[in-house]
């Protein structure tokens, strides 16, 4: 889906757990997430830490959107 949205002209940051799939299918700005059942969370952390984790992942996504790239890039 990331590829099609980008093809239409909108930059996309893709937060996903299995980046190899994203790499194969072609998204350009990839941000590795935590895990499949909770990509932007971690139920094993106390709530405040979990929110901090989520905020940092999102900030990485925003940073990716603001980074010029020539090819597929993983922002870890």
């Amino acid at each position: 889906m990331a590829k099609e949205i980008e093809r239409a002209g909108i930059p996309v940051a893709h937060i996903c757990s299995i980046i190899t799939i994203s790499q194969t299918v072609g998204a350009n700005r990839i941000v590795p997430a935590v895990a499949i059942p909770h990509p932007l969370g971690n139920p094993r952390l106390p709530p405040e830490e979990e929110k901090e984790l989520r905020r940092n992942l999102l900030k990485k996504a925003f940073a990716a959107l603001q980074t010029p790239i020539q090819e597929q890039t993983v922002f870890s």
Binding site: S17, T20, I21, T24, P32, V34, A35, I36
Partner: protein, 451 residues
Amino acid sequence: MSYARPHAGVHPVTHHWRKITVRDLEFSSATRVENGKLLIDKGELTALLRSDPNIKDVKLAIARPGESVRIIPVKDVIEPRLSRIPDYPIFPGVLSAWDPDAGGILSGEIVSLCGMVVTTVGSIVGFQEGLIDMSGPGARYSLFSGKHHLVLDISVKEGMERHEHEKTVRLAGFKASDYIARSSLDGPLSGGSRETLINPIDPGFHGSEKSAGRKGKPKIAYLYMLQSQGLLHDTYYCGVDVKKMLPRRIVPTEVLFGAIVSGNCVSACDKNTTYHHQNNPILLELLRRHGTDWDFVGCVITNENVTLGDKQQSSTLAAELIASLFPDGVIVSKEGFGNPDADLMMNCSKIEAQGIKTVLLTDEFAGQAGASQSLVDGHPKADAIVSTGNANEVIVLPPMEKVIGDDRVITELAGGSSKCRLPDGSVAIELQALIGSTNQLGFERMSSRFK
């Protein structure tokens, strides 16, 4: 590591497999096999299962091949077996404590009740249980339409948390199978067939034939991938949750004893029921012609976890373990679909990087029109694939006279949809919802090709 524990010299672990086939199933006064029929004491079995306080009610039903019956929503299918080895139980680690590496796997006899299976159904826990049709167009997609089923329809007490609910139903199936096996297969047996399976010897074991090799015969190994992604997506090896394990070798005939059991429902078409594990045709075929057509060097089991780090770690370790067996080629079977395609490709590429050839067994999710990309991941080294069919293909199933379980859930099953019911009572549903239809251990004949 599971390994052979010889008594004198080097003896491979050997299991004698006795198969007693039953041709019918009936409720009766005592559980036993009589004249080729399995008779079941309903009261005794129900009481046994209800001794678990989590179970509110159990309804037992029988389904026979050819009947106009639909069993839904199916959780697991299990073949009753009895171990005749005193210290080696069935479902080791599940119904009783067991450590596969403490004493080693012992040789001896195992008996199975063939022709019938225990099938668990019950109120839906998740989205991806499935159905079995005993006749009609759906029946040809799975071997289960040819079995006699003792169906356990299990209701749990109110307010149970989903993980507990799943576990309760899972264990009930094993307990029921164990009860049937003990009640009907203990004591002297008449008839049936017998097969002896001899396991490969661990190549690291002193005196093994690793370096010698059997002249001219190709050396084949097997990488057995197991689903391990959480609730309704789990598998257990000797009672241990496979997602918490690292890849390891097993003695191939351990599967006969139920060393690998299913807690997996995803999706009905390509999840391995416990029956599938107990009868893994890849292991059986590799064992049967071991020493004649090839040299079967061993089997490694591995998981399909939900983080990239775990996938990378498991695939690296699995490839190294496989390489330590010095095979010429490896069969790799996958379980499930979607992100496990990534595990499959990692396993394939890392094994091929060692100069070892791979063949992969996988199904496809190519969309209902078959026009879409079948796998979510790929690798140039994945050049030898056996396809077990496109799970998205739609089939129209006629209404059945009898439903065991609850068929209102059909629209919720993966492969169903709110629009799948047709005016005449049929359902247009994807093969995804049929238990075992695209099984990736190679049981069935369905495949897919370009048209």
